[in-house]
Symmetry: none
Subunit: 221 residues, 4 copies
Amino acid sequence: MSATLPRAAHNRTRAPRWERRKESRPAELIAAALELFVEHGFAATRLDEIAARAGVSKGTLYLYFESKEDLFKAVIRENLVPLLADFQHSLEAIDEPATDSLARFLRTWWDCFGATRLAGIAKLILSEAAHFPDLARFFHDEVIARNDALLASIVQRGVARGELRPIDPRAACQFWLAPLVLKAIWSNSFDALYPPQTRLSPAQFLDAHIEFVLASARTAP
Amino acid sequence: MSATLPRAAHNRTRAPRWERRKESRPAELIAAALELFVEHGFAATRLDEIAARAGVSKGTLYLYFESKEDLFKAVIRENLVPLLADFQHSLEAIDEPATDSLARFLRTWWDCFGATRLAGIAKLILSEAAHFPDLARFFHDEVIARNDALLASIVQRGVARGELRPIDPRAACQFWLAPLVLKAIWSNSFDALYPPQTRLSPAQFLDAHIEFVLASARTAP
Amino acid sequence: MSATLPRAAHNRTRAPRWERRKESRPAELIAAALELFVEHGFAATRLDEIAARAGVSKGTLYLYFESKEDLFKAVIRENLVPLLADFQHSLEAIDEPATDSLARFLRTWWDCFGATRLAGIAKLILSEAAHFPDLARFFHDEVIARNDALLASIVQRGVARGELRPIDPRAACQFWLAPLVLKAIWSNSFDALYPPQTRLSPAQFLDAHIEFVLASARTAP
Amino acid sequence: MSATLPRAAHNRTRAPRWERRKESRPAELIAAALELFVEHGFAATRLDEIAARAGVSKGTLYLYFESKEDLFKAVIRENLVPLLADFQHSLEAIDEPATDSLARFLRTWWDCFGATRLAGIAKLILSEAAHFPDLARFFHDEVIARNDALLASIVQRGVARGELRPIDPRAACQFWLAPLVLKAIWSNSFDALYPPQTRLSPAQFLDAHIEFVLASARTAP
DNA sequence: GATGAATGAGTCTTCATTCAT
DNA sequence: TATGAATGAAGACTCATTCAT
């Protein structure tokens, strides 16, 4: 056996074949899996790859996840929860003009979701919704619906105070968020195909978008 | 399109793949394939299923397409060409106010793309972009870029004439189209999960959106 | 490709890579599977082996059987039915002394079951009963119970006519059949270990057994 | 027994496998393994299960047994030795009529073997004979052959004394033991499938069988 | 052309075995 | 000793592709 492992066979202070890392393993596996799932999709990602990227053997995956599907679900859930928490935390209510709230909401949304792995996750769920209806529903109810409700309440408050023009709050959400969402999602599909300098940078895009939203939302002075 | 696939060198008496062959077989196969690819994604769709839905045997597929990938590409291309043609045709330039052009563009876009299989195709390309970069590029250049250019020219004209407020034409496109695009794409992922009556109907959505766009675009009277 | 198949590459009248044999394939597969299941047991038999022995590829098995279990069940059922039919047929009621019936029953039993693959099948079911309770039940009800009933009726008739000593028919069956059953089953386990000449030949065993049964069954003259 | 396993050459300071080691660990492991092997068969029993049932970790098994096969062999051997000892002990020669000897032999056999785990072990060996020929041979020579010889000597004596009818002693053994053996073995396969009340109780079966044997064996008064 | 039986490379999953702790 | 995390070879099963009919 040592013949097949010609790395300091007699030096027993070096190079153990593997390490115990019970605590950190699941997170490492999920991280590796997220990257590959986003990159290749669920079906085209081989467990071999995930294991290799995480630096473990294939069998190790099954110590922590019952199946490929189970791993997929863990990837989605584990990544969504902290993102949602961050988002909630960053949006602590401040008493400010509704236009400021609006701008802050969009900027926070981009920082917490659009510019993060959520974009990849959203694309993932979109693609696999047919195979994982429970995840799709979870995503819809926990992320989309909540998000829309939050933005709607800001608009509602602004309209009531006369700071914003009278706009149907629920519809407005869709109009103002959709561009960000789409930008985020499509980045994951097309960015690899085009050199970055040919497109608007996310920061520029975000600034332009906020300016546009405010222009169309605030009441005439 | 054939210009992007210079593989004539290996042609063995066969016509290019995307040409209609005897009878309407290829079209039927492509139609069956489109449905299933949109429904299940590329990897999860079995050729058995496609053949069954088209009422032929599995082997027959290989008389018309070299491989599953080849069939997938044909599906995309064959469905995009007529859609693009329809769209161009419906938008024949009419001398009308820019706001009317804008409304007509959005409505036509929805009728020709959003409410059609393009939504499914877009979702498909999004999901499979990593595996079919040439298709993704084709889609981006032929559909997205052209589309944006068209809308941009309308905006530009309207601004020049003073009918629309001064808006960056390219950015505005994204803001005004994104909601429609997203609505179209997400329908394909989430509609199966929720009873139709819980969501805004496409017609209502479209009307509201157009109204909103016009409100924020037209110059104050 | 022809380089990897250096067998008369240009001679197209010879050596097709495979043949269509839709009709006979299932029987061939079942036959191969029976041998290997009896020889190695269910778990230790690899589908590769079965396919190889039947001269097909692994995938072909799945054209005819849904799973390894399904194949196993087919093996049991397909082999049991003809055996049972043979047995019924060979035992057509003849009006003869009960002792003759008894002898004929035992001899027929041996010819139809003990000396055939049923012995292997019985051993198989015995071993796998825990995994295939439905098969075990089927075997018990269809083979064991029927068999016992048949023998019991012979005994009953003989006792009623005064040709046999008064014996509990159901118990007697067990006493008279058990040696044959055991001989049959154990042959499959131990015959491979001992040269045949060290043990009683089946024919000798059968003769001795019948003689013994009759001696203990018939009424004193 | 160690004589049949002359592998002392490779012994690395370890005691032979089948010796009790510190505390009673090995015995507990073997007991757990026996249950599970009998219940599920060799291949279908996972070492995880055995370890869990014995209340240790999987790795601990390898402190006492070199491999799963080794454990299996230990299970067979460890359980056979005490059974055989009990049997020998219970059958201490007593000067009594041959018919009494016969009855006592059958009853003792049942108590020591048929009603004990030997039934499970026999079924086990039957099923796994192909994989463990040395165990099968051991079982045959040590258990079956000795057992038959013992019964044969009783018969021989009885015949010589005129207490039993002239019967071929070796054949008679098979006829008289087979029903008990079969009953014992089959119980392990079919008892789980049928409620106990539908079948003859072992005690009733034994009584009936002994009565029957004696009736056919003793000389006419 | 059309068929569908046959193929076999590719993947997920299991589990006996090893070894760092 | 004892543990159980980690391994990796093995095996069931799938399905795009081929090819005899």
